[in-house]
Symmetry: C2
Subunit: 411 residues, 2 copies
């Protein structure tokens, strides 16, 4: 008898459905396509030469260590670097606050493993990062969606949701995926006050923070929380769990991220990580440390910002020139995404069908909404094509939008 | 209010207890210690120069790809290599049978995520690999332990356990961790026949296979299953899930392993992996492929075997010369571990206390037994010290054992 695989899957994984985005990306890999669908950083700005030099240095000086098993917590000098960096940002952090993760997707997964039981409510922005929902679905999360606008999560109705005793609040405060919106300072303060009032853990997922083109950096939620607690010495003991990554400022293919959180939570996350993948690859961690410690990453980030700002500007210009007047979109101050809202009855899924004929692709916004809705929204990525290709692609997409809306009018 | 972390952890992670082994390893990191406690490969034989050359080649030729996000399934040429390799080993395998994992620990975790619900029974060898139990505890597994001897899992009572409708059977057929035992051919056949009879998924965890010093390779469970199904063309569609790793023949710090299984199961595992860490680091996969494709790994494995065999021989010689006559131990034909059984009332935990005074360390065997027992057993690793240090360490440990047993007699 052969295994009847369908009958043996865990109930929890019945909830894993094939991601529409993954399937879509496969179609649009053809070279003539201009794709706004993915979330890929620009490979042209990967510091390939510096990576090669750093690896050669590491292998020469500590080659055996770089290839050997390492501690689950992460490579100590990198953890120390993260602790120093965060301390410099106003969050007294010690090494026991820091866990190195295999990308920040793993931070999301480990949080689910450690905090979420079947049926546990999680407060999320709507729309929010799709792969977080997919990760937590496996652990049986229920979602309490909070509406968002151009200043991020609308904190007005939060108190009511908090009464439902959520186990976790999830927030992407800067240049959110998918909307590109940044949480305003007053909302940050309100969020911390209200959540803090009941000791609710907050996952502050902040992959795009360093990619700010315009405006001033706002304080992190973890900094506001740290100030509220008036703890002036490490280790940090607050409710906010800060997830960051080197994917956007260095290279996503290395899969190195970090979590900063209270030591007792870090201990649990370490145990969960140990049984997930033992540790994040040693060489990759040493490489990130080598490029972070002498300030190279900081200089390199300015180069990335220059490139991305031009691409964003090209996208916003093209949207204004080629999209139907009734369309709205965000004007992100950083990150990698613009969020478009079509006038009410028009569906992004139908636009996508037309767009694919024009050899241009994007991701419809509906799947990012845990509570449903958003049928008239779409996400556009601007980091992974030249400014010229972006202009051309948005012109094509605008033509497709005009076509869709004109057909509806004449029909 | 600060988060009361103890009150918010998921019920499932209450089961993650601090591993005695991890804590122990911290104590024994002092340089004067001779430690048989870990499971680290010999760093002296890591091919540091070849790794450096291969990385330079990859970065020069395909640097942007090496640093970019990749497919969750894994780097296609590496998946193809695994498929070709397994096909050459008598298992018709296509690329849709192959998932690249972040070390084979991730294979174990993903299997738990996809197959195990709260309370599901899993058949395991007793003793077995500790970190598999830790990974599956999180998903609520119950264990049905099968006793083992020097020829591996004793299949005599298996039929009775299978009547309890387990969801998975877990087996390390070659040079098992912790015992070093190899499953005999007749037991391999019986296992496949009996488990196959009810379509039970079998996880064949085979990290040490290539490290055989003596004797003949035995067919993999997946090969026997493939022959039983009489499927002569790929894709493989059987019940056995084959997990392998490049940790032992190349370098564990790279965290690259693979799963070969039926395509419908691979699809589920891909979805689970996507929400766990998106994909295994691209550069690491390209590096492994670069070193595997031209036969370097095969040549390199012979060097590792030469080194490990000497170390094993040194350990067995020292055990015979220095250990009390009533002690028994395995004589593994490969791998990294020897398993010692003290005469009945003597406890390995008490021996460890004495051993640490002698600056020598090992891991007590009890935690490897999911059903309890094994208090008089211990695991000795022989891959991570020179033959000389091993001889010296076993002499010290033998003295400690004599001391423990003499004290008991005079007490």
């Amino acid at each position: 008898m052969q295994t009847q695989w369908d009958s043996v899957y865990a109930a929890r994984t019945e909830r894993i459905t094939s991601s529409a985005i993954r399937e879509l990306l496969k179609v649009t890999e053809q070279p003539e396509f201009i794709s706004f669908a993915g979330g890929l950083p620009a490979p042209e700005v990967f510091p390939v030469a510096e990576v090669g030099e750093a690896i050669n240095r590491i292998l020469e000086e500590r080659g055996q260590q770089a290839l050997q098993y390492g501690a689950t917590e992460g490579y100590l000098p990198l953890r120390e670097w993260v602790a120093r960096y965060m301390s410099g940002q106003g969050v007294p952090t010690s090494v026991e606050n820091v866990l190195i993760t295999t990308g920040s997707q793993q931070a999301i997964d480990l949080l689910g493993k450690v905090l979420l039981n079947e049926g546990d409510p999680v407060v999320v922005e709507s729309p929010t990062y799709l792969a977080a929902l997919q990760a937590w679905n496996i652990y049986g999360a229920r979602y309490l969606p909070v509406p968002t606008d151009e200043w991020g999560m609308r904190t007005g109705g939060l108190q009511q949701l908090l009464a439902k005793r959520p186990k976790l609040l999830y927030c992407l405060p800067n240049f959110q995926n998918p909307t590109g919106a940044t949480l305003s300072l007053s909302r940050r303060r309100r969020l911390i006050e209200q959540a803090a009032d009941q000791g609710l853990p907050i996952l502050e997922d902040d992959p795009y923070r360093e990619l700010r083109f315009l405006g001033k950096q706002l304080p992190r939620l973890i900094s506001l929380e740290s100030a509220r607690l008036e703890q002036h010495t490490a280790p940090y003991q607050g409710n906010v769990i800060y997830a960051s990554t080197f994917s956007k400022v260095l290279a996503p293919g290395l899969r190195v991220g970090s979590i900063v959180a209270a030591p007792s939570l870090i201990n649990r996350l370490v145990q969960a990580k140990q049984s997930s993948d033992l540790h994040t690859p040693t060489l990759n961690q040493m490489l990130v440390y080598e490029l972070a410690r002498d300030g190279f990453l900081e200089r390199h980030t300015r180069l990335i910002i220059d490139v991305y700002r031009k691409r964003r500007d090209s996208m916003l210009t093209a949207l204004a020139e080629h999209f139907p007047a009734e369309t709205r979109w965000t004007e992100p101050e950083g990150g990698m995404f613009v969020w478009v809202t079509l006038p009410a009855p028009f569906e992004a899924a139908r636009l996508l069908a037309t767009a694919i004929e024009e050899k241009v692709a994007f991701v419809p916004g509906a799947p990012f909404h845990p509570g449903g809705g958003g049928d008239n929204t779409l996400r556009l990525n601007f980091s992974n094509a030249t400014a010229e290709a972006i202009y051309e692609g948005i012109a094509r997409l605008g033509a497709a939008a005009h076509r869709l809306m004109d057909t509806a009018v004449t029909a």
